[in-house]
Subunit: 210 residues, 2 copies
């Protein structure tokens, strides 16, 4: 007959990523404040005490989740921009596609809404996210816009502000899905949403000489 005793394994290497994975899921489901560390530990198959062996505090765990999930994707976007040679519109399209495939269609999709929801109550984490994700993401879009304006492909507009207008619909799509999304029966198709956004942008940004 099977023993009920919960056999205790020592797996020092695997624990941290198992814990951040469990935390990601719960943070996205319930938010940071509403997630109990006991539940994170349970989902990762360890006790709460073990969690504290690997992370100093709940906030440190949060930071680790952000770091592990988002920063590699930003770096990838930077690589795409660095080796791109086509039009600025194409570059914007590629960056968007990468974002969508690496974030929008994965379990990390919930992080933007998580950050928006918790930023005020955890300013240190917000600052970290801003410096390492948002700032760099905005810089990517800004560089693409500047390239397009320099070549005449786009008309001249204020760069900083245009960056925000370009990014906003993409962020809102994810924020929406993880907040009010449950209220709507028929969710809009993300692919169509992104296509329309790019289409509006293409015509909206278009330089007059084209």
């Amino acid at each position: 007959m099977p023993t009920k005793a919960p056999l205790r394994k020592r797996r020092k290497e695997a624990r941290p990523s198992e814990l951040t994975a469990a935390a990601l899921g719960l943070f996205v489901e319930k938010g940071f404040a509403a997630t109990r560390l006991e539940e994170v530990a349970l989902r990762a198959g360890v006790s709460k005490g073990t969690l504290y062996l690997y992370f100093d505090s709940k906030e440190a765990l949060f930071k680790a989740v952000i770091q592990e999930g988002m920063m590699p994707v930003v770096a990838e976007g930077e690589a795409i921009a660095a080796r791109h040679e086509g039009s600025a519109t194409d570059l914007l399209q590629r960056l968007l596609e990468n974002w969508w495939v690496r974030i929008g269609e994965t379990e990390y999709a919930g992080i933007p809404k998580l950050m928006v929801a918790e930023a005020r109550n955890f300013p240190e984490v917000a600052q970290f996210y801003y410096e390492n994700v948002i700032r760099r993401g905005r810089a990517l879009v800004g560089a693409a816009l500047e390239r397009g304006m320099a070549s005449g492909e786009f008309r001249r507009m204020d760069i900083e502000t245009t960056i925000e207008v370009v990014i906003a619909p993409i962020l809102m799509l994810l924020i929406w899905r993880f907040s009010m999304g449950a209220c709507q029966s028929n969710q809009a198709d993300p692919r169509q949403y992104l296509a329309i956004h790019m289409d509006l942008l293409r015509q909206g940004l278009q330089g007059s000489r084209v």
Copy 2:
């Protein structure tokens, strides 16, 4: 000499709105979950017990705040649309202007972020907000877009999806201000942001025949 005894006044009529006003401020500052009812009561100049004379629960107070703050503005937008006679672009511009003056520049500006942050943990309130604010707001924009497409002023696009792309930057502007906004030293100027958004939209939506 002045007595320190906190004189107790009976003001049955004034209490509810004073309490919702205090709650609005605190909810926007700290979020729903992180706001203590004791503090709401203190700010309204009463005790916590008094708060429970007027609202059954913390959630009921939340709902009252939403109802009092947002629904009148939606109704006003509906009135604007009903009596509008100019172009569809003009109508969009007017709706945007009304939203900005009645929400964006007031203390209610924090509500969209508040709803996004709390929707998942308070589905009943989220549902209420969706039915009474979002649904009606979207319908307004949808009607303006349809009018423009019917007249040839706008090219034909999927209405539901376009609504979202049109609204997203406006919501993000407020959501940003009340979340990550503190991380950025130089906030973008909202008026310029809205102007660029409308400008991109005007050219992006433009029908080919114009």
